[in-house]
C-alpha cells in the first residue's frame, strides 16, 4: 500500500459520500423501514391457494412467450452474428451490423415492451416482440464474439483450398462455434423467462401483469402466490439447464461423441 493508493481510495470514498448525499441515501430510513417490511411479509404469508391455478397458467404463458422469443431471436441473431464477425467480413459489412445490434441492446426489454404495446396493443404478442428484439441484440454479441474466438488455423488452411465463403461458414464457423451456442441458448432462455415475468408490468402479457395489479391494490397475499410460482419456475429451469449442460457440454469437452 503506497500513499498513492491511499489517495485513490480516499477519493473514491469522498465521491461515494457526496453522491449518496446527493441522491438522498439515508441508512436510518432503512433501519426504520424494517417493521414496514415485516407488515408486508406478514400479509404475504396469507397466501391465497385458490389462485394457484391462475398463477400456474399465467406462468405457462410466460414460459411460452420466453420460448418463442428466445428461439425466434436466436434464429435471427445467427446470420447477423456472422455478418458482424470481424474475421469473416470487411469493415463495411460488420461496422453497420454491429451498430444496429448495439442499438437493439441499448434498450432493456421493458422499454421494447412499451414500444410494442403502443404498436400492437396490450397482450403477450407485444411481450414476445420485445423479447425477440432484446435476444437479437444480446445473442448476436455473444455469438460474434464466439466466432471471432475461433481458431484461425482451420480458417486459413481451408480458405487456401479455394472453398467459397458459404462453405467456409458451413464447415468451419458453424461447427467450431456451435458448442458455445447450446450453452448460450440455455442462458438466454433462462434470462428471458425472468425478463418475461416482469413484462406484464407494462401490459405486455405474462405473469407480471397479475403481480403488479395485486401489489397496486395492496393484496400482497395474492401477489405472493404469483411470486412464489416465478421463484419455483426459475429454480426448476436453472436446475434443468445445469442437467443439460452437464450432459452435453461437459461431456463434449471430455470427449464423448455427441451430435450437434
Amino acid at each position: 500500500m503506497n500513499p498513492k493508493d491511499n489517495l485513490v481510495i480516499g477519493i473514491i470514498i469522498a465521491i461515494l459520500i457526496f453522491t449518496s448525499f446527493n441522491v438522498g441515501v439515508d441508512p436510518t430510513q432503512f433501519v426504520k423501514g424494517i417493521p414496514n417490511l415485516m407488515v408486508v411479509v406478514e400479509e404475504m404469508s396469507h397466501v391465497d391457494p385458490t389462485l394457484l391455478g391462475t398463477a400456474f397458467w399465467s406462468m405457462i404463458e410466460t414460459i411460452q412467450m420466453a420460448f418463442i422469443g428466445t428461439i425466434v431471436g436466436v434464429a435471427i441473431s445467427l446470420p447477423l452474428s456472422i455478418l458482424a464477425a470481424r474475421n469473416l467480413y470487411s469493415k463495411f459489412v460488420y461496422a453497420p451490423v454491429r451498430a444496429f445490434l448495439a442499438m437493439m441492446r441499448t434498450f432493456p426489454s421493458i422499454l421494447w415492451a412499451i414500444l410494442f404495446v403502443i404498436m400492437v396493443g396490450l397482450g403477450p404478442f407485444a411481450g414476445i416482440l420485445a423479447i425477440i428484439m432484446y435476444t437479437i441484440g444480446f445473442m448476436s454479441k455473444l455469438q460474434y464474439e464466439a466466432i471471432e474466438a475461433i481458431d484461425s488455423d482451420p480458417m486459413e488452411a481451408i480458405s487456401a483450398i479455394g472453398v467459397s465463403k458459404l462453405q467456409l461458414i458451413r464447415y468451419v464457423v458453424v461447427p467450431e462455434s456451435a458448442p458455445h451456442l447450446l450453452s448460450q441458448l440455455l442462458y438466454m432462455f433462462d434470462y428471458n423467462v425472468r425478463q418475461t415475468s416482469i413484462l406484464g408490468l407494462v401490459g405486455a402479457g405474462g405473469i407480471g401483469f397479475y403481480i403488479i395489479n395485486y401489489i397496486k391494490f395492496f393484496e400482497y397475499g395474492k401477489a405472493a402466490v404469483f411470486m412464489l410460482v416465478v421463484l419455483t419456475t426459475v429454480l426448476i429451469i436453472d436446475w434443468i439447464s445445469v442437467k443439460i449442460r452437464d450432459r452435453y457440454i461437459v461431456k463434449a469437452q471430455k470427449g464423448v461423441n455427441i451430435k450437434i
Binding site: D151, D153, P154, M155, E156, A157, I158, S159, A160, I161, G162, V163, S164, L166, Q167, R170, Y171, V172, P175, E176, A178, P179, G255, N257, I260
Partner: protein, 264 residues
Amino acid sequence: MRKMTEILTADNSFSNDSIIHMYDVWTSYDGKGYTLQGINMSVENGKNYIIIGPSGAGKSTLLKLVNGMVIPTKGQIEVFGRRPNIHDNIFKAIMPKIGYIPQNLGLVKNLTVMENVLIGALPRISKVKSFFKIFPDKEVSDAENVLNLVGLEDKVKRKVYMLSGGEKRRVAIARALVQKPELLLADEIVSELDHVSAKEIMDLIIEAKHRINLTAVMIHHDVQLALDYADKIAMIKHGNKIAEFNPNEMRYEEVVGMFNSYES
C-alpha cells in the same frame, strides 16, 4: 531494381517443366524488416523439394508464398503460370490443385474425420449440396479409399478433437489428398513425431506421390529425413537461400555443419 533483361534471362534458365518459379522474392510483414531476402527458386514437376533451416528463418513464409497466403513485397512468383494470391478470383481456380498442410494442421476439431477429409472435395461440389452436407457417392468412396491409405478406416466417424497427434496428421494428409492436388505443400508435418512414425508418414506421402503425379514442397527440421526423401534440398537461413543441392551431393555431417555454422 533489377534490369528487365536480367529477369528475362533468369526466366529462360527455368526448366519448362517447373511449376513454381520464384525470382528475387522479398517479403515483409511490417514494411521494415524483410523475412525473406531475394529468394530464387524453381521446383520441377513431380519432384520432392525439401526446405530445411533453423526456426525463424522464413521457411513457413516461403511456403505461404506458393499458395498465395503471403504476397511478396517485391519480386516475382508464378505457380502453375499464375501469380499466387488467395484473394484473387483467377487464382482461386488454381487453389484446389494445391494441397496445403500447415504446421498446426488446420483441422476442424468439432467435425468428424470423414467430414474433415471431405472438405478437400468442397471446391468440386455445388454450393447448395455442400451446404446440406450432401456429397456424391464417388467423392465419399474416394475419401474412404484415402482414409484406408492413411490407416484411419476405423476412425471415420470419430470427432477430430478425440484423435492423437499422429492421427490428426493423417487426417490432414488425407484432406490434402482428397483435393486431388498436383502440388503438395507440407509445413513440418513430422516434426513432433518419433522417428518411426515420421518415416511412416513420409512413406505414405511418397506412396501417394507415386500414385498420382504429385510435386511436393516440404519443410523439415530433421536433416536425415530430408536427405532420405528429397530430390532436392534448399537450406534457408535468415531469409536467404544459402544452399541448394541434391541429397547425393552432400553427406549428413556436411549438411549439419552448414546448418549450424553459417551466419549471414
